[in-house]
C-alpha cells in the first residue's frame, strides 16, 4: 500500500513572528495548567515553538482585598445589570469575575477598590439589544483587536480533482467571494498593518507569511456597561491549501487560530464527522488483477470505487480484503486533516468507513487534536485566553461537539461554537462567514448570530431546507 504524500506536521511553519505573546501572570498560570494536562515534556516541546518576549509584570490586583460584604454588593450590581445570575455569596469566583469583565469590558476592575467598583456598576445601565445570551465580547475585544481566521477546506472540482494549485480552484473561488464581501465592508488587504495591530495587541503568529490578511481599523465601537467606550480594529486572515498533499501548513495555521485567536471560522468538508480538512484525502485507488501486474483501473472517486467493489460483495468487506491481498492500493493524504473526533459516527457509510480507515493508517494514525492530550488543549493552555469563538460550516459538524467540549479550553463556558446539523452545500461558506463577521462586530446575541448565518445560507445554498446552523456554548451574559 502506498502512503500519504506528506507526514502530518505537528509543527507550525518555520517563520518566527516579530512579536510574541507576553501576558505576564496569565502566561505563567497557563504554563502550569498545561503541565497539569499534558505533562512537562509536552509543555517544553510546545513552548519551544512559541517565541515569548520578556513577560510583563502582573498588574496589581486590588480586588484581592475586597471583603465578603463588598463582593456581595458587587454581585448585586452585576445581577441588576443581568451580568450575574448565581447566588449572592460574597465569593469572587469565576462567574462573578466573568460578569465583572463583561461589565468593565476588560480587567480594569482588578485595579479598583470595592467602593469604586460598586459605584461604577451602580452608575451603569444595562444595554438593550433584545433577549438571549451575548457572546463574551469583553474577552473578544479586551485588547482592542478582533482577529478571525477564515479557513477554507478542500473542495473538489468535478472536472479536475488536482486543481488546488490553480487560480480557478474551488477554494480560490470561495476565497474570492470572501475577499469581495470583506471589501464591501471596508476591509483592505494589508499584511503589514495586520502584523502591526496584532503585535501591538501582544499577539504572536507562527507563520505570518501564510494566507492573506485584511484589516478594518475602527471597525466597531465597544462600550461595556461600566467601561469606557473604545474602538476595535478587525483583522481577518484567509487560509487555503494550494499544493497537493500539503495541507499541514493550513492545518497548523487553523489550530493556531482556534487556540490563540479570537475566532476561527472553517468552511469545507466535515469529513464524516471527524474534523476539518485542508487537502484532498483520497488521491487514487488502483485496482490490480492479478496483484503484481499493472493496474487494470485507476479511480479517483470513492463513490465510484464503492460501486465497483459492490459487484464483488459488501463493498467495505471487499475493500479490506483487496487491500490485504494487494489487489487494491490507495494513495491518500492526512496532512490537512484536523482530527477532532477519534471515531466517525458515520462508519456505516462507505465514505465514513474509508475516512476512518485512512485516519488510522501509519504510525498509529493521525493524532486526535481534541481531549486532554491533544494539540488544542496544549495550545489553549499556553494561550492565556479565557474564551474563543469557533465556527464549522461544513457537513454535520455538530458531530464535533462532544469531543470538542471535552477538551480543556473548549468547554461550554470557554467557547461558543457554530455548527451544522446536516450535510450542506459548500457554496454558502463565504456568505455565512461575512454574516459571522457582521454579527460579531455588531455585538449581537448568539440567537441573532445563528439567525444571520442561517439567513446567509438560505440565500446562497441550492436546495436549502431547514435552518441547519446552531450555536452551542453558554455564551456570555444575557443582554
Amino acid at each position: 500500500m502506498r502512503t500519504r504524500l506528506e507526514q502530518q506536521s505537528e509543527t507550525p511553519g518555520p517563520q518566527a513572528p516579530e512579536t510574541a505573546v507576553a501576558r505576564g501572570a496569565a502566561a505563567v498560570d497557563a504554563v502550569l495548567a498545561l503541565q497539569r494536562t499534558v505533562g512537562n515534556a509536552a509543555t517544553v516541546a510546545l513552548l519551544a515553538r512559541q517565541p515569548v518576549a520578556a513577560p510583563r509584570a502582573p498588574p496589581s490586583d486590588a480586588s484581592e482585598s475586597w471583603t465578603k460584604e463588598e463582593i456581595k454588593a458587587v454581585q448585586r450590581q452585576l445581577r441588576r445589570l443581568r451580568l450575574y445570575d448565581l447566588l449572592i455569596d460574597g465569593i469572587l469566583g469565576r462567574f462573578t469575575e466573568l460578569g465583572l469583565v463583561e461589565a468593565f469590558g476588560g480587567e480594569e476592575w482588578r485595579r479598583l477598590d470595592a467602593a469604586a467598583t460598586t459605584s461604577r456598576l451602580a452608575a451603569a445601565t444595562r444595554p438593550g439589544g433584545g433577549g438571549g445570551r451575548t457572546l463574551r465580547y469583553a474577552e473578544l475585544f479586551k485588547d482592542g483587536v478582533f482577529d478571525v481566521t477564515f479557513g477554507i477546506g478542500y473542495k473538489e472540482s468535478p472536472k479536475d480533482p488536482d486543481e488546488e494549485s490553480t487560480a480557478n480552484s474551488q477554494m480560490a473561488v470561495i476565497e474570492a467571494e470572501a475577499v469581495k464581501l470583506l471589501a464591501d465592508r471596508g476591509f483592505k488587504e494589508d499584511a503589514n498593518l495586520a502584523a502591526k495591530l496584532l503585535a501591538n495587541a501582544g499577539r504572536a503568529v507562527d507563520d505570518p507569511g501564510y494566507g492573506r490578511w485584511f484589516v478594518k481599523e475602527n471597525a466597531a465601537t465597544y462600550a461595556a456597561p461600566a467601561g469606557i467606550p473604545r474602538q476595535i480594529h478587525a483583522v481577518v486572515r484567509t487560509i487555503r491549501n494550494m499544493e497537493r498533499g500539503a495541507g499541514g501548513r493550513a492545518r497548523a495555521a487553523f489550530v493556531e487560530a482556534m487556540t490563540r485567536g479570537d475566532a476561527a471560522f472553517y468552511t469545507g468538508h466535515g469529513r464524516y464527522g471527524t474534523g476539518p480538512d485542508f487537502d484532498r484525502n483520497f488521491l487514487q485507488f488502483r485496482i490490480y488483477d492479478p496483484p503484481g501486474k499493472s493496474p487494470v483501473q485507476t479511480l479517483d472517486d470513492y463513490d465510484v470505487l464503492e460501486r465497483e467493489l459492490a459487484k464483488h460483495g459488501n463493498p467495505w468487506t471487499v475493500f479490506k480484503k483487496w487491500v490485504a491481498d494487494g489487489r487494491l492500493e490507495v494513495d491518500f493524504s492526512n496532512a490537512g486533516n484536523l482530527r477532532l473526533v477519534a471515531a466517525t459516527p458515520h462508519k456505516s457509510e462507505f465514505g465514513g468507513a474509508l475516512m476512518q480507515w485512512a485516519l488510522e493508517q501509519q504510525q498509529g494514525g493521525s493524532a486526535v487534536a481534541t481531549g486532554t492530550t491533544g494539540d488544542l488543549a496544549a495550545g489553549a493552555a499556553v494561550s492565556g485566553r479565557k474564551y474563543r469563538l469557533l465556527a464549522f460550516a461544513g457537513c454535520r459538524t455538530l458531530d464535533y461537539e462532544r469531543s470538542l467540549r471535552a477538551t480543556p479550553g473548549f468547554g461550554a463556558g470557554e467557547a461558543d461554537v457554530l455548527e451544522t446539523t446536516r450535510t450542506v452545500h459548500a457554496g454558502y461558506g463565504a456568505y455565512a462567514f461575512a454574516a459571522f463577521v457582521d454579527s460579531v462586530l455588531g455585538q449581537v446575541t448568539t440567537q441573532k448570530l445563528q439567525q444571520a448565518a442561517n439567513r446567509a445560507m438560505r440565500e446562497h445554498e441550492p436546495e436549502f431546507s431547514g435552518d441547519p446552523i446552531v450555536v452551542t456554548g453558554r455564551g456570555g451574559p444575557r443582554s
Binding site: K159, D300, V304, R307, C395, H425, P462
Partner: protein, 129 residues
C-alpha cells in the same frame, strides 16, 4: 439513438446534485444514472452541440466507467470547452484499462501537439507499475 428530453434533464440534475454534495451518500445517485440509461446516453450527449450536455456526458463517463466510452472520449479530451475537456480527461483516466484504452492513451502520450495531455497520459501509463 436520441436521448429523450426527460432522461437528459434527469441525468443533468443527478450529475449536478452529485457534484454539489460530496459528502452525501452518492452511490444511489450513480445507480440511478445507470438505471436511466446513463451509459448509452453519455455517448449521445458527447456529440451534442451544447457544451453543457457534453460536460454531462463526460461526467457520466467518469461515474459509470464502460468500454463503450473510449471512442467518444478520444474526441472529448480535445473538446474546445476547457471544462468539458478537463472532465473528459478525468473520465478517461478512470476507465478500465482495456487494449483499446491502452492504444488511445499511448497515442495521446505520443502526441507532442498537446504537451500537457501527453504528459498526463504518460503518467497514467506509469501508474502503479
Amino acid at each position: 439513438m436520441v436521448v429523450p428530453e426527460e432522461t437528459r434533464l434527469r441525468l443533468t440534475e443527478l450529475v449536478r446534485t452529485y457534484d454539489d454534495h460530496p459528502e452525501l451518500r452518492r452511490r444511489p445517485m450513480i445507480d440511478e444514472m445507470d438505471e436511466c440509461g446513463g451509459i448509452p446516453a453519455a455517448g449521445e450527449l458527447a456529440r451534442a452541440a451544447d457544451a453543457g450536455d457534453r460536460f454531462v456526458a463526460a461526467r457520466l463517463m467518469h461515474l459509470l466507467p464502460d468500454g463503450a466510452h473510449i471512442d467518444p472520449l478520444a474526441a472529448l479530451v480535445h473538446d474546445p470547452d476547457p471544462d468539458v475537456s478537463a472532465a473528459a480527461r478525468r473520465a478517461l483516466h478512470g476507465q478500465r484499462r482495456s487494449s483499446s484504452w491502452r492504444a488511445l492513451v499511448q497515442r495521446l502520450a505520443n502526441d507532442s501537439s498537446h504537451a500537457e495531455l501527453a504528459a498526463a497520459a504518460s503518467r497514467w501509463l506509469a501508474e502503479g507499475v
